[in-house]
């Protein structure tokens, strides 16, 4: 009996090959989308980790030589013995055959967490690393090393390409720098007592790790973007799988009725159908993962390029198959299929054995669930609202997203039903009345596909709005904050006046960066003294400012504050701020300051020097047309260590290019999501086509031509898609708001202004309509070409 039942179940697919195809392709596409995003996400994370590990010292404080490129190893010993937990690093270019690699020598016993190589070290053992002069490198560099050096090489994919890690002793020998070190990495945890640095090692300078934070924040936002997209695509995928499976089950209702009438027990039938489903899901999931791999492989070079640009470090651009997204893809396919089947099977088991299996009964059955659905939608939307008001934390942010997403999707059929009912009430004439009524009748069958479309659209609107808003805000912010081409860290320079004289003749404009940590309006804050020149005037954008703000600040008549200070102290334009003892000035401008946790106020350089004569500029921003020449002059002629000169323009270029590339990846994924949603519409229409014949045949019999009917079918699909798209825009904007104002605040601690992009949304609606048109045209074409005999059969057969 089991074999016969399986045969019967399979025979359905044999007779309905298109439906079989749509089911498998639907599942496969949904899995592909999910696993593709997962792959990109996993790969990006892995690449970050590699790049971050390679440049990890950027996140830790360092001690660098005040003069020259290296310092004697004795500094390390002296500092350790004075209670400073530091770890030595020697770094240089290593010639291996015809190529040059970056060799980083580290001391494995003292290297702090989060420093270079700590990830790679975790995978190796000490004896091998220390004793045999072992080198560690990524796969490509390892090949180069094996050909050129006798040392044993350990391959570790977590090491950024082009970098070689070795024990400090080995590296000193290979670099011919015996007894010399390049820098000391300072452990973030230091003991209770230590002797002052100036006493132990007067010729080294403490370099704080703050320079890397801008880039860190940018990568975090990129990461969040990908995470959000993975989350949204998962939801879209679930809906699509749900639709595909649900429809397939509904369609076989007639067969189930027949099989049960023939005496197959219900439970066995259900077990067999589940079994069939799991096999199908695994097949489709497998195909989906391969497709996802292809998607990721096409998009990944962009992601790799993003990271390369961001860190200036090489990241392998090839995709590695990671078990995480293999498994999550298959789990998604099988889990989604089973969740979808659960409701269908439940309904099957509750259906009276001889109930009509027609489409109308289905619609009625769905109608009964409508009030539950409405209640669920209202509950979820209310929960989203409640969480937005009362919730806190990143989890709450994502919970709001989830509630909005599901609530919006569940509310869609209800909204559409109301709109269609209104349309029906306002229309006159037989055919229009039938058109509206028939659209309403078709709604339950299409609602899952339309929900998927709604979510795809909303996700697109939400993510595009977020990314574009980010891009606009950061472009402005970077332009104003990283306007100088070079920054010079003068902490280790004794004679700063000499440095300024040296720079005077060589740089176009010098911006000494004078700052003190102080209290403003009773809050911890920084006071800056600015030499107001064309850079400030041209680049800075204000959230609010008076007309002659820079003139007034330059004349010492006013002060500029950042958004944080303005908000926290409740100070607006024109309010007076005590910038220094005996110096209360009106606020003439408020600037956005993304990522800075504390308040900031800016006065003119003259006022600053009067208030704090002892403070001298620790950093200089330099404007120049030829940063490379200036950098070389500083190193060669003035003797500044090259690590003290930061090419800020390059950092800015990289940072901006991140957003361009993020955008292109997001765009590609947008198109893909829409394509999948369109496919789910096509699938639903194809599945419905056969069921709908009994409804279409009488209309045809009354004289409406097949062509006309087909035209109406297309029109209806486009109309439904248009309504869905229009409803998706407010949902998408809500999502974007949650991302920018809730998730972003929780993740990064500041809120970004939200910009609207009507043209972009218009384009998306057109794209959606085109997708719907495409999806509807094939079933419509089949209807218009259908043999009249098929329509006639409706009247002949008892269905």
């Amino acid at each position: 009996m089991t074999a016969a039942t399986l045969g019967a179940l399979a025979s359905h697919w044999m007779r309905n090959r298109v439906q079989f195809l749509t089911l498998v392709v639907g599942l496969a596409l949904a899995t592909a989308l999910w696993s593709g995003v997962q792959a990109i996400n996993a790969e990006a994370r892995a690449s970050y980790d590699a790049a971050a590990a390679a440049l990890g010292e950027g996140r830790l404080d360092q001690l660098v030589p005040a003069n020259g490129e290296t310092m004697p190893q004795e500094r390390f010993i002296a500092l350790r013995r004075a209670g400073w937990l530091v770890s030595p690093v020697v770094e240089g270019r290593l010639r291996a055959g015809t190529s040059t690699l970056r060799l980083v020598g580290i001391e494995p016993l003292t290297v702090p967490v989060g420093a270079a190589a700590s990830a790679a070290l975790a995978n190796t053992d000490l004896a091998g690393f220390l004793e045999a002069d072992t080198l560690m490198a990524g796969p490509e560099a390892a090949d180069v090393l094996r050909g050129a050096l006798p040392n044993p090489v350990i391959v570790d994919a977590s090491i950024a390409s082009g970098t070689v890690i070795a024990d400090i002793g080995v590296a000193q020998e290979l670099l011919d720098r015996g007894g010399r070190i390049s820098r000391l990495v300072v452990s973030p945890v230091q003991p209770l007592r230590q002797r002052p640095l100036a006493e132990v090692a007067p010729d080294v300078v403490l370099q704080r790790a703050d320079g890397a934070s801008d880039v860190g924040r940018l990568t975090d936002s990129f990461h969040l973007n990908l995470t959000a997209f993975g989350f949204l695509s998962f939801a879209v995928g679930i809906f699509i799988v749900h639709g595909a499976i649900g429809l397939a089950f509904e369609q076989r209702r007639g067969m189930v009725r027949t099989l049960r009438a023939l005496g197959i027990p219900l439970d066995r039938l259900i077990v067999l159908m589940i079994l069939e489903l799991v096999v199908l899901a695994l097949l489709a999931g497998g195909i989906g993962i391969l497709l996802g791999y292809l998607v990721a492989a096409v998009l990944l070079p962009d992601v790799a390029a993003t990271i390369r640009g961001l860190y200036g470090a090489d990241v392998a651009g090839t995709l590695q198959i990671r078990p995480v997204w293999w498994l999550s893809g298959l789990a998604m396919a099988v889990g989604g299929a089973l969740v979808a089947a659960a409701s269908a099977l439940w309904r099957l088991s509750r259906m009276p054995i001889l109930a009509s299996a027609g489409g109308r009964a289905w619609a009625v059955a769905s109608g009964r669930g409508r009030s539950i659905q409405a209640a669920a939608a209202l509950f979820l939307l209310a929960a989203a609202g409640g969480l937005a008001v009362m919730g806190a934390g990143l989890v709450a942010g994502f919970a709001i997203l989830a509630c909005l997403f599901l609530g919006g999707a569940l509310a869609l059929p209800l909204c559409l039903a109301v709109i269609l009912k209104t349309g029906q009430d306002r229309s006159s004439g037989v055919l229009p009345q039938w058109f509206w009524a028939d659209s309403r009748q078709q709604l339950p069958g299409l609602s899952l596909a339309l929900m998927a479309l709604l979510l795809a659209m909303a996700a697109n609107v939400g993510v595009s709005t977020m990314v574009s808003s980010f891009r606009l805000t950061f472009t402005g912010f970077l332009d104003q904050r990283l306007s100088a081409e070079l920054y010079v860290d003068a902490a280790g320079v004794d004679d700063r006046a000499a440095l300024e004289r040296f720079l005077d003749t060589r740089a176009d404009e010098i911006q000494p960066i004078l700052s003190v940590e102080t209290e403003l309006a009773g809050l911890p804050a920084e006071l800056y003294g600015a030499r107001i020149g064309r850079t400030y005037r041209e680049n800075w954008r204000f959230l609010a400012a008076e007309a002659d703000v820079w003139d007034r600040v330059a004349d010492g008549e006013a002060v500029i504050v950042n958004e944080q200070l303005s908000r926290r102290a409740g100070l607006g334009l024109g309010d007076r701020l005590a910038a220094a003892p005996g110096l209360a000035l009106p606020i003439a401008g408020i600037v956005g300051d993304y990522g800075n946790p504390i308040g900031q106020a800016i006065v003119s350089e003259t006022l600053f020097r009067q208030a704090y004569p002892a403070v001298s500029a620790a950093r200089f921003g330099l404007r120049t047309d030829n940063p490379e020449a200036l950098r070389r002059a500083l190193v060669d002629e003035f003797g500044l260590p090259s690590s003290s000169i930061i090419d800020q323009a390059a950092i800015k270029r990289f940072s901006l290019s991140v957003f361009e590339r993020t955008f292109s990846v997001t765009e590609a994924l947008n198109v893909l999501t829409l394509a999948v949603a369109a496919f789910s519409i096509l699938m639903s229409l194809l599945t419905l086509a056969a069921m709908r014949l009994p409804q279409l045949a009488p209309v045809w019999a009354m004289g409406v031509t097949q062509r006309r009917l087909a035209g109406l079918e297309v029109l209806r699909t486009v109309l439904l898609a248009l309504l869905t798209a229009v409803l998706a825009i407010p949902l998408g904007l809500l999502l974007a708001w949650v991302l920018l104002a809730v998730v972003n605040v929780e993740a990064f601690g500041w809120r970004l202004p939200m910009f609207l992009f009507p043209l972009e949304y218009g384009r998306l609606i057109l794209l959606t309509l085109a997708a719907a048109l495409l999806a509807a045209s094939w079933p419509a074409w089949r209807l218009s070409r259908m043999a009249p005999a098929s329509l006639l059969k409706v009247f002949a057969h008892e269905r």
Binding site: F76, L109, D125, L126, P191, R193
Partner: protein
């Protein structure tokens, strides 16, 4: 940092590869990898033997102290410097195969703070010199005269101590003139102690500086094979009684069944009586949940020959050294046939 990397190193130190067969070559004085083996009848010579023995695989300078604050509040401190050789011998600079690590801790009834340091030999970051005596890693020091006055100091992120130790008695040799057997199969170490230090100094805790006084006990031990393959850990006691007598005893737990115990009774004048396997009986009475595992923190300790039958209870049951290789170490209070205080070290208690 990378815990796995460092723990491999320590596992190397703790397990030493279970090469019990190497003991068969004891007559040659070296094991298969060229490390020197402890020999019975070794004649100690000082001050050289206060210094390092780089031909042996492992070695430690282990100080524990029972202290009291001005109001009588009991405290304990630990200062340990371990040496572990990747291969025998010493070399200059980064070539040195000697790896050093230090552990330091301060314990009261409610607080337990611990810190660790790592370093390489050959560069001057860590090491031990015999004359003048100095043992150090980074800014942690023990220096001076082990039969006179020595200074001991360490700092962690949230504690520090700096104390002076004054020797009030002779050095004490365990086992057979300092040849201390560790298993029935014959694993052994060279082991002597200076249990007669009087201590005075300052503890720095988050609540402030606390002047303290008390006693300290230095253990010196080196070997190339501390444990047999089936031995899963040890419980080690150093107890000082009110009448001036002292007891060093340990129990090595064997996964194959049957513990191995050893003890040295030290009279107030330094006269010692060594006891071999079975004389000392140590039985756990009560376990505490520490760092997700059950650790015995109240013991019954019996040494029949000396009429000793005492309960040894932890001052702070949570004295967990949550370091790269975690273990329990803290001050204990002794009651029963003898009153006193001391230190307890327990290793090898795994979380389930």
């Amino acid at each position: 940092m990378n815990a796995r990397f460092r723990s491999l190193l320590l596992v190397l130190w703790l397990a030493c590869g279970g090469t019990a067969f190497a003991q068969g070559f004891a007559g040659l004085g070296t094991d298969a990898e060229g490390f020197a083996m402890p020999q019975p009848g070794h004649v100690f010579s000082f001050p050289q033997d206060h210094g390092a023995h780089p031909d042996f695989r492992i070695e430690w300078w282990y100080v524990t102290a029972n202290l009291s604050g001005p109001d009588g509040t009991p405290y304990g401190l630990q200062w340990t410097l371990f040496r572990s050789a990747l291969k025998p011998g010493e070399a200059e600079g980064w070539e040195s195969p000697q790896v050093w690590f230090g552990h330091a801790a301060v314990t009261s009834a409610t607080v337990h703070k611990a810190a660790e340091r790592f370093g390489r030999g050959g560069t001057g970051q860590a090491g031990v010199t015999a004359e003048p005596f100095e043992a150090w890693i980074d800014d942690w020091h023990m220096e001076g005269d082990l039969l006179g006055t020595a200074r001991l100091s360490a700092t962690g992120a949230d504690f520090a101590y700096d104390v002076t130790m004054r020797a009030a008695g002779p050095l004490v040799f365990h086992g057979q003139d300092g040849y201390s057997v560790k298993s029935a199969a014959g694993q052994a170490s060279h082991y002597y102690s200076q249990p007669f230090f009087e201590v005075e100094g300052t503890l720095t805790l988050p609540e402030g500086e606390i002047p303290v006084r008390g006693t300290a006990w230095l253990d010196r031990e080196w070997s190339s094979q501390p444990l047999a393959e089936t031995q899963s850990g040890w419980d080690w006691f150093s107890l000082s009684f009110a009448d001036g007598d002292k007891l060093m005893g340990f129990r090595l737990r064997d996964a194959a069944g049957g513990d191995f115990t050893s003890a040295t009774w030290i009279e107030a004048d330094g006269t010692t009586t060594p006891y071999g396997d079975g004389a000392l009986v140590a039985t756990p009475l009560e376990e505490s949940q520490v760092a997700g595992r059950a650790v015995p923190t109240r013991w019954r300790v019996i040494l029949e020959d000396k009429g000793l039958d005492v309960t040894v209870a932890a001052l702070n049951s949570q004295a967990w050294m949550g370091l790269t290789v975690p273990y329990w170490e803290g001050p204990v209070i002794v009651s029963g046939s003898h009153e006193g205080r001391g230190y307890l070290e327990m290793t090898g208690y795994e979380a389930p």
